[in-house]
């Protein structure tokens, strides 16, 4: 969950990676394209996971063969063993693709690596993410990376890999790996073909209502002799700030750090010509926040918005 202090529409998002996605209902939603670092990290985790799965599978086969040998049953023919190895080779190829397809076709549209880095696959045009698109982007991954690597390894083992082949293969893989860095949306070739992109999977917690009229009990106890509405600001006193300052104030109130509140309360009091609310900072700030927001929202309803104190 996002920390409660992280507020604001695109707060914390690299403006270069912020995009707008229009849903089929016509509502524009903010999305953030996953950064190249996140993509590489996810790929690395996925490769590690695949390798781990592969090791586990091979190990269990070895154990199975060993157990079979110990039972002393008659050995199997060479032909049959060969057939099993062929199945194994085919299985490896299919399993690699199945891993990506299974996870990206799921509701979260993300492999383990993508989940760990909180990114997911989405359709670029705002429509439905189709199975065809997921197939396309993953099949191209094979062509981008796995197949050339396999050809090179097998060529290397068989001794048929010439200098030219090695260089061509390396350049091939390199070009495709670096491809996302050379376009705005960090698209891999597979994304380009499939019409998909990888975006950050959003998550945010619903914070409490700020300044809900119920100040913390301890404050009330201490200041119980004070009136509920002891802070009333005039229109001129509220007119000094805009939406930006309101949101900063909201963040201060949500994080509720005492020393920050003292500083901010003192700043506001000085600005509007009041004396600092000594020890009663939170009620002061909440009152100011509520009245400022009421004033700005009233303006908003009449189509008047004020971005910050300078406007």
């Amino acid at each position: 969950m996002a920390r409660k202090g992280e507020i604001g529409r695109t707060h914390g998002v690299d403006p270069k990676l912020a995009r707008v996605l229009v849903t089929p209902e016509g509502v524009a939603l903010d999305v953030a394209v996953a950064s190249a670092g996140a993509r590489i990290g996810a790929l690395f985790i996925d490769l590690t996971a695949l390798f781990g799965l592969f090791l586990g599978f091979v190990l269990s086969i070895v154990l199975l063969v060993e157990a079979y040998r110990r039972t002393g049953l008659p050995g199997v023919s060479d032909g049959f063993t060969n057939f099993l190895v062929v199945l194994f080779i085919i299985g490896l190829f299919l399993a690699r693709n199945a891993y990506f397809l299974y996870f990206e076709l799921g509701d979260r549209a993300a492999t383990w690596g993508k989940r760990a880095l909180r990114i997911r696959v989405a359709s670029r045009d705002g429509g439905r993410l189709t199975a065809d698109a997921v197939i396309a982007r993953n099949l191209i991954r094979d062509i981008e990376m796995f197949l050339p690597l396999m050809f090179m390894t097998s060529g290397g083992i068989q001794g048929t890999l010439g200098n030219f082949g090695a260089w061509a293969g390396t350049i091939w893989v390199g070009v495709f790996l670096l491809f996302p860095l050379f376009n705005r949306d960090r698209l891999r070739c597979g994304d380009l073909i499939a019409g998909t992109w990888v975006v950050e999977a959003p998550r945010a917690a619903l914070g409490e209502v700020v300044a809900n009229g119920k100040t913390t009990p301890s404050m009330l106890d201490r200041a119980s002799n004070l009136a509920e509405d002891r802070y009333r600001f005039s229109d001129a006193e509220l007119a000094v700030y805009g939406e930006y300052e309101l949101q900063m104030l909201e963040r201060v109130l949500r994080t509720a750090k005492p020393d920050a509140m003292v500083t901010v309360a003192a700043t506001i009091a000085t600005k509007i010509g009041w004396s600092a609310p000594d020890g009663d900072d939170q009620p002061f700030l909440e009152a100011y926040y509520t009245q400022l927001r009421a004033r700005l929202e009233r303006g908003m309803r009449f189509g008047k918005r004020r971005a910050d104190k300078h406007s």
Binding site: I7, T23, V86, A98, R128, I135, I143, G195
Partner: protein, 342 residues
């Protein structure tokens, strides 16, 4: 909803000073409910949701969209808007997520999706076929005219004894020889072999407007044509074609499909029509990728046929029967299989 819109909730609404806070408190119950549904779905616990929740999702989603639009225009609570933004995006991803599971996709793909994709690129299939035929004819004609062409058309590691001027016996032994290596080795070698790479490359190079794809198809078929001439010159045409057919029908069809898929992408990029280049590319890419998934299955089949069937079957008649039987099966599967569901 909010089973108990208890006095507590109403009191909070009444106590809220700001109109936008009242708006929030009135709708909060729906948001919390859709968030619970979304979280359950994201964690793959759809089964645990009640029918009511599943049925309510589209309605809750539309309400959420309206809440977000209202909040953007009337509330300055940044925390609330950030929450609604992210919740709406999550809901959108689920409501417009993939509708299929992996298993269901496999069934629909092999039960008709693949055939539809192949039929959808029929123009490109014809173009690729034309270039392949031309390539084979050119290869044959070039070597027939001047035997020096052979060494240029056929990569050297291929051509052991199979060179122009080789004796009939030497050539025949390559067609009917004892199995020198076992099926596994041949299969494994095949998967990483020239032809599998040609198929993949033919598709991948479609990006470059399809030109390299065409060149690759012509070149590859020219070396086949050259090889055919060598055998034909010793009266072994029938045997050579039989030897080739047993796995070659599947393999050449796979190369044809891959080349056509590459051309399909290249054509979309070069001539996008009324669509944008990106839209045309992704439209063509999705079809082409399905064809390529089929190509990979075909290459695996071709590898099995080459590894096992070719060594075991030594009779030319039987080779023809298997080769063209398999070809017929592929063609029927691609072009005659039309399940009603589209």
């Amino acid at each position: 909803m909010n089973a108990a819109p208890a006095s507590a909730g109403e009191q909070a609404v009444a106590a809220a000073v700001l109109r936008s806070d009242r708006f929030r408190l009135e709708r909060e119950g729906d948001w919390v409910r859709i968030e619970a549904i979304i979280t359950a779905m994201e964690k793959g616990r759809v089964q645990r949701l009640s029918d009511d929740d599943v049925l309510a999702l589209p309605v809750l989603y539309r309400n959420l969209l309206s809440s977000l639009s209202i909040a953007r225009e009337s509330s300055l609570d940044a925390g609330l808007i950030a929450y609604l933004e992210s919740l709406t995006l999550r809901a959108y991803f689920l409501v417009y997520g993939t509708r299929t599971t992996f298993g269901a996709w496999c069934r629909s793909f092999f039960g008709g999706g693949l055939s539809r994709a192949v039929r959808a690129i029929w123009v490109d299939l014809l173009i690729a076929l034309a270039f392949m035929v031309v390539g084979a004819l050119v290869g044959y004609a070039l070597v027939a005219a001047d035997q020096d062409w052979f060494s240029r058309l056929v990569p050297t590691q291929f051509a052991d004894v199979r060179v122009p001027g080789a004796s009939r016996e030497a050539l025949e032994s390559t067609l009917f020889g004892e199995a020198r290596s076992d099926g596994l080795e041949v299969f494994a070698a095949y998967l990483f072999s020239n032809n599998a790479q040609v198929a993949i490359l033919a598709f991948a190079l479609g990006f470059a407007l399809g030109v390299p794809t065409v060149l690759l198809l012509i070149y590859n078929m020219a070396s086949l044509g050259a090889m055919l001439w060598v055998f034909a010159s010793r009266g072994l045409t029938l045997e050579f074609v039989g030897w080739l057919s047993i796995h070659g029908t599947t393999e050449l069809l796979a190369i044809l499909l891959a080349g056509a898929a590459g051309l399909h992408v290249g054509r979309a990029l070069g001539f996008p029509g009324a669509r944008s280049h990106m839209a045309a590319l992704s439209g063509a890419g999705r079809t082409a990728a399905q064809v390529m998934a089929g190509v990979i299955v075909m290459l695996i089949c071709a590898g099995l046929l080459e590894g096992f069937a070719r060594q075991l079957v030594q009779s030319t008649t039987l080779r023809y029967a298997i080769g063209y039987g398999v070809l017929t099966a592929w063609l029927l599967y691609f072009f005659a299989l039309r399940p009603r569901r589209s």
